[in-house]
Amino acid sequence: MKYAYFPGCVAQDSCSELDEATRAVAAELGIELVELTDASCCGAGNLQEVNPDGALALNARTLSMAEAAGADLMTVCATCQLYLARAVEELKDPATRERINGKLAKVGRTYEGRVRVKHLVQILLQDVGPRKLAAHVRRPLGDLAVGAYYGCHLLRSPGTSAFDDPEHPTSIEHLIRVLGGRPVDYGGRTACCGFHVLTVREDLAMRMSGKGLHEAKAAGAVALATPCPLCHLVMDLYQGKAGKAAKERFDLPVLHLSQLVGLAFGIDPAKLGLKRHIVSTKPVVRALDELEVVKA
């Protein structure tokens, strides 16, 4: 199993723990990751607004790199997933592809339209599969009450209906169960965290993320798992501020999905970057240690 790995900007900067955890999980599963060290930003909507054609050309360039490596593209960020999968769709139109290939020719590249863009969630559930995943679980999550926090862009990405129902998703809950855990059901699991207005309307983002955090907490979640580092940034970094706005103390660790998988695989928490969070992840690690003691 081989993928061209597109960590995205944030997993190579403030959320480098996501990159570390993803690499550890891929190694455990024997997934070969082709490095795209020279791939650019996906544009995240901002570049698309400033320079729509330029943004499409950059994403076509990334896709051409995966195509040259003979692999599908793997993302670990919901926003990267959305904008790259949208580029794949737009480039299915022959006229658009010809126009963009005209630009790519100037940098000695071409994209023929053969690449699929898959988020790690899809790869784990469909390409690896629940059975193989379960076989790697050495520390089942047990009674750890984990809330899936989907956010928006994974669900709105073209192609998501191939592995989940975008309106009533269950893929992350399914993964939590495969990891031996107990998913918590709550209304905010598909709510918007507000990341994309964080620098423009922080007040709004705080009220939006606060609602999701409140609903998860009220439903009994002791941790959240998210497929998006941008959701993570709002829900973890800004959790204190969201708490102030909501007049509530959340103390809710927000794990990257790769970290949760890594924990269940029994990978050393130090290799999963669990200390690089603002909201302490100690309660999660401690709960799993206690489970281990009970089992022994």
Binding site: Q12, L47, R61, H153, R156, H196
Partner: protein
Amino acid sequence: MAVPSVMPESPTFWREVAASPGGESIAACIQCNTCTSSCPVELFEPTFRVRQIVARVKLGLREDVLSDPSIWACTRCFACVAHCPKNVRPGDLLEALRHLALREGRQGPGPRHARAFASSVREDGRINEARVTIRSVGLGGLVNQGALPVKMALRGKAPSLRRHRLRSISEIETLLEEESP
């Protein structure tokens, strides 16, 4: 008798939007309000109504729409795009409006952030979170973050101030060159 001023300033504004990426399907809008009903921003800010923005475009209220800060309050969740029964893609249409606002040099926190982001991509090929944040909110905005940057640094979570420019940055520059019309 004076005619009340209901004449739109730019009756063909909708055509301009329809010619921008994302706005192509505006003519199909039947004002059913599914977009506003799907919108998570509207839950918190009842004055933010996507349907009305589309209506104002169709009415030709160009200045009114492009100067409205609320086009920058959209979180790009694309729930409206998923739910629109006429495939108008209202969220994409808002992207087209922001594109038009940016193209004519409009100012404000929204345009400032979009430009800071695009500059970072142009300069390095990738986003430098620290630089984008400082350019988006300014040093004053950074001060408003209180102890957060310190906490981030203590956890090893602070974004790098060092540039990590792609080796092939010249490719990025070439691809981002705007075609002359």
